[in-house]
């Protein structure tokens, strides 16, 4: 079939283009957040994952609506890739009542139960026990759902990590442990925190399938994620992906980055996940040169709209302060 683009081919190309769009969308969103933070509009802590977009977008492709996600405080990419509305995320960062957590959680605690997005967690490895619990329930009720648990290399040092990975392996729970290894736990490089830095190798020792993945290549991430999730859904027990990635910006909006030098950052920027995919799509002719500008402009407009909506959104009335401490049982 000589047609350059077979139907399957055009679908695949459209999909690749959509991956590019999703990654760019996260990038534009987070860069704008950095600005808003500097202008004092976003307060508290802000952890951006600029450079790690491939992990969020790639892993999410393997999930269905029924699957559950537990994330960390570097969660904007995960939330947006999972489909949490951008307006709701931005409003949450502005502390507004229309935020996805009514303005109570902020950047580190985005929740959207309709999308089974069970929040970021500000405690390193704090989300792992939740994730295996979600998986335990799904397994006990024979539901085909998979729970993806995102965490960083820093979590490796927490007791909870070892307890949960072992428990999941012991009880063969439907969990995908997605370790976003960006080589730094805040200011501590991986080799200064772990005796054995091959995290995938370490995970295998707990008796579960475990692979390292190039976390800057969204196609590679997607492929590995689909393989792992299918294996889990097929009853193969929990899987572990070590997604080797890198964050181009500081740990959070207030970090002098004395722990790494500019050359290292520059080296990793050469494998910027967005540029990597864009180059591929240009070489194959799938991506017209002006398409990226149009995409960027369109996404900038979406982000600005979210900012405007967030600025005009109402604050939660103070009277609601004590609501939801306990459940509001019916009258």
């Amino acid at each position: 079939m000589t047609a350059k683009q077979t139907p399957k081919g055009t679908r695949a190309a459209a999909h690749r283009s959509d991956l590019l769009r999703q990654m760019t969308r996260i990038r534009v969103f987070e860069e704008r957040c950095v600005e808003l933070y500097s202008a004092g509009k976003i307060r508290g802590f802000l952890h951006v994952a600029v450079g790690e977009e491939a992990v969020a977008v790639g892993v999410m492709q393997a999930l269905t609506a029924d699957d559950a996600i537990v994330s960390t405080y570097r969660e904007h990419g995960h939330a947006l890739a999972r489909g949490v509305p951008m307006d709701a995320v931005m409003a949450e960062m502005f502390g507004k009542a229309t935020g996805c957590s009514r303005g109570r959680g902020g950047s580190m605690h985005l929740f959207d139960v309709d999308h089974r997005f069970y929040g970021g967690n500000a405690i390193v490895a704090g989300g792992l026990p939740l994730a295996i619990g979600l998986a335990l329930a799904d397994k006990m009720r024979a539901r085909p759902a998979v729970t993806v648990c995102f965490f960083g290399d820093g979590a490796y040092a927490e007791g909870e990590f070892h307890e949960c990975v072992n428990l999941a392996a012991l009880w063969q729970l439907p969990v995908l442990f997605a370790c976003e290894n960006n080589l730094y736990a805040m200011g501590t490089a991986l080799e200064r925190a772990q005796a054995e830095t091959d995290l995938a190798l370490r995970a295998a020792s707990y008796g579960l399938a475990s692979w390292p993945v190039d976390g800057m290549d969204v196609l590679a991430v997607e492929k590995a994620a689909r393989h792992a999730v299918d294996r889990i859904r097929g009853g193969g027990g929990p899987c572990f992906l070590e997604l080797r990635t890198y964050r181009f910006r500081a740990h959070s909006m207030y970090d002098p980055e004395r722990y790494r030098d500019k050359a290292e950052v520059a080296r990793w920027r050469e494998r910027d996940p967005i540029e990597l995919l864009a180059r591929q799509l240009t070489e194959t002719g799938e991506l017209a040169t002006d398409a990226r500008e149009a995409m960027a402009a369109e996404l900038a407009t979406e982000v600005e709209a979210a900012v405007t909506t967030a600025e005009e959104a109402p604050l939660e009335p103070v009277e609601d302060l004590t609501r939801f401490v306990l459940s509001e049982v019916g009258p």
Partner: protein
């Protein structure tokens, strides 16, 4: 034309110091290019530009500490030739800082809002009742001085009384207020007992409900407090008496005056033949050991208790212009404590006790009253008080009711009297019983009925 402003670089940052510029005026910068180094009290951080443009003019010099949001340099759009005069500030740029202290409006004196007077001066003014805001300060820059306050105090004093007098009896001169528990204070207020007159204190040196009730049951609301001048400044605390030995003379005086002033007493009396009782007691005491022996006083108490149960209208309290019946009969027994104190603690549920139990209760109560070991409840609860002065040799006792009770029974000495029965004259042991009643609660007839029932009961001692 956007500007380059001091960024917020942390949750707790509201100002930053420009350390150095990384660009020069006239340089072209692009989004993301580092523009300057800023120190945030914790560390120095490179700050990037969020816009493309040409650096027109630095508005802040290195070393200056400015609030977050303050414009550090103006940027001209890329395509414009650098103009000399900085264009009007573009509306979009953030001008008012989101956080940080408001800019000063320059100095002008607002009339009459004195810079806050230092606390000691405020306290001094309050003590002398001087309103600071009404003063024009003679101090530098219009500040109010201590001399100003003193002058104002003297100026508004009507008579040349020493400053000390004019002020509300200053805390310094008033004797340290007696410590009392909140409940004691509330009870004192409710029962009209002046705390200052309660000299009894608990083990912890404070007045508790027991002492107030003790005072109330034996004292009257104080005579209007003596004029301040009368109280000698240093009132010597009476040595703390053993607890619960009843109210002191002053409290008794207060109680009795209130009783006489407020309670319209009526009195009814009768003489009762105690022949059957004394005969019955003599016979039964012979079979009892000495410590079980029963005295007439105990028998009289038991008979009175049973009678009070028959006539509840005399067994209770007059509170807030209404009679409140007692929940049971708790006879108050007036005990004369050596040394002049007087107390009338209650024997609880007297009517339910057997005669031997009443006797034992009486002995125990009197012993504890004299050694100051009465319990709070015993002082709090008498519903009808009995004053038996037989031992003191008087034949008739016309007593004063203990507020808030509504009656009192006075018992005299057992006296051999000529007695006519069925037309024959004989000699019988008799006792004169007098009932004082509060005419607000009952009438003489009620008192009379009470005494008749009491007399009838005393004729059947075996039924006591």
């Amino acid at each position: 034309m956007a500007d380059f402003t001091m960024p917020s670089l942390g949750a707790d940052m509201d100002a930053g110091t420009l350390v150095e510029w990384l660009v020069r005026e006239g340089d072209t910068v692009h989004r993301g290019d580092p523009m300057a180094v800023v120190d945030t009290d914790k560390s120095a951080i490179e700050v990037e530009s969020f816009d493309d443009g040409v650096v027109e003019r630095f508005l802040v010099e290195p070393g200056a500490r400015v609030a977050v949001g303050t414009t550090l340099a103006s940027l001209a759009p890329l395509d414009d030739a650098p103009t000399k005069v900085p264009a009007a500030r573009s509306p979009g740029a953030a001008t008012t800082p989101a956080a940080g202290p408001p800019a000063r409006h320059g100095h002008h004196r607002r009339p009459h809002t004195p810079r806050a007077a230092p606390p000691p001066l405020r306290h001094h003014a309050a003590e002398l009742g001087v309103d600071l805001t009404t003063l024009a300060g003679s101090g530098p820059d219009g500040t109010v001085t201590r001399a100003d306050v003193d002058r104002a105090a003297r100026a508004s004093a009507p008579s040349p009384l020493p400053l000390q007098r004019r002020a509300e009896p200053g805390a310094a001169t008033r004797p340290r207020p007696r410590r009392a528990s909140p409940y004691a204070r509330r009870l004192a207020a409710e029962l009209g007992v002046d705390l200052a007159s309660v000299t009894e204190v608990g083990g912890d040196g404070a007045v508790h409900a027991a002492q107030v009730l003790g005072a109330a049951s034996t004292a009257v609301a104080p005579v209007p407090p003596p004029p301040p001048a009368a109280t000698s400044p240093a009132r010597v605390e009476p040595p703390p008496k053993p607890r619960g030995t009843g109210a002191s003379r002053t409290t008794i005086a207060a109680l009795m005056s209130r009783a006489k002033r407020e309670i319209p007493h009526y009195y009814v009396a009768t003489t009762v033949d105690l022949g059957p009782l004394t005969e019955w007691l003599r016979r039964s005491n012979r079979e009892r050991g000495v410590s079980e022996r029963i005295l007439p006083a105990a028998a009289l108490l038991k008979a009175t208790a049973l009678t009070a149960r028959d006539h509840p209208e005399l067994n209770g309290f007059w509170v807030d212009r209404a009679f409140v019946p007692g929940d049971d009969v708790h006879l108050g027994v007036a005990v004369h404590v050596r040394g002049g104190a007087l107390v009338a603690p209650a024997i609880h549920r007297t009517a339910d006790l057997t005669l031997p139990e009443v006797m034992a209760a009486l002995r125990d109560l009197v012993a504890r009253a004299r050694s100051g070991r009465l319990r709070r409840a015993e002082l709090a609860d008498p519903t009808l008080t009995v004053t038996d002065l037989g031992d003191q040799g008087v034949e008739e006792v016309i007593g004063v009711i203990y507020p808030p009770q509504v009656a009192l029974l006075g018992i005299g000495r057992v006296v051999e009297r000529p007695w006519a029965m069925d037309g024959l004259i004989g000699v019988r042991p008799t006792v004169r019983l007098t009932l004082s009643g509060d005419h607000r609660a009952t009438d003489g007839a009620a008192g009379a009925r009470f005494l008749n029932t009491l007399e009838e009961r005393l004729q059947h001692p075996e039924a006591l």
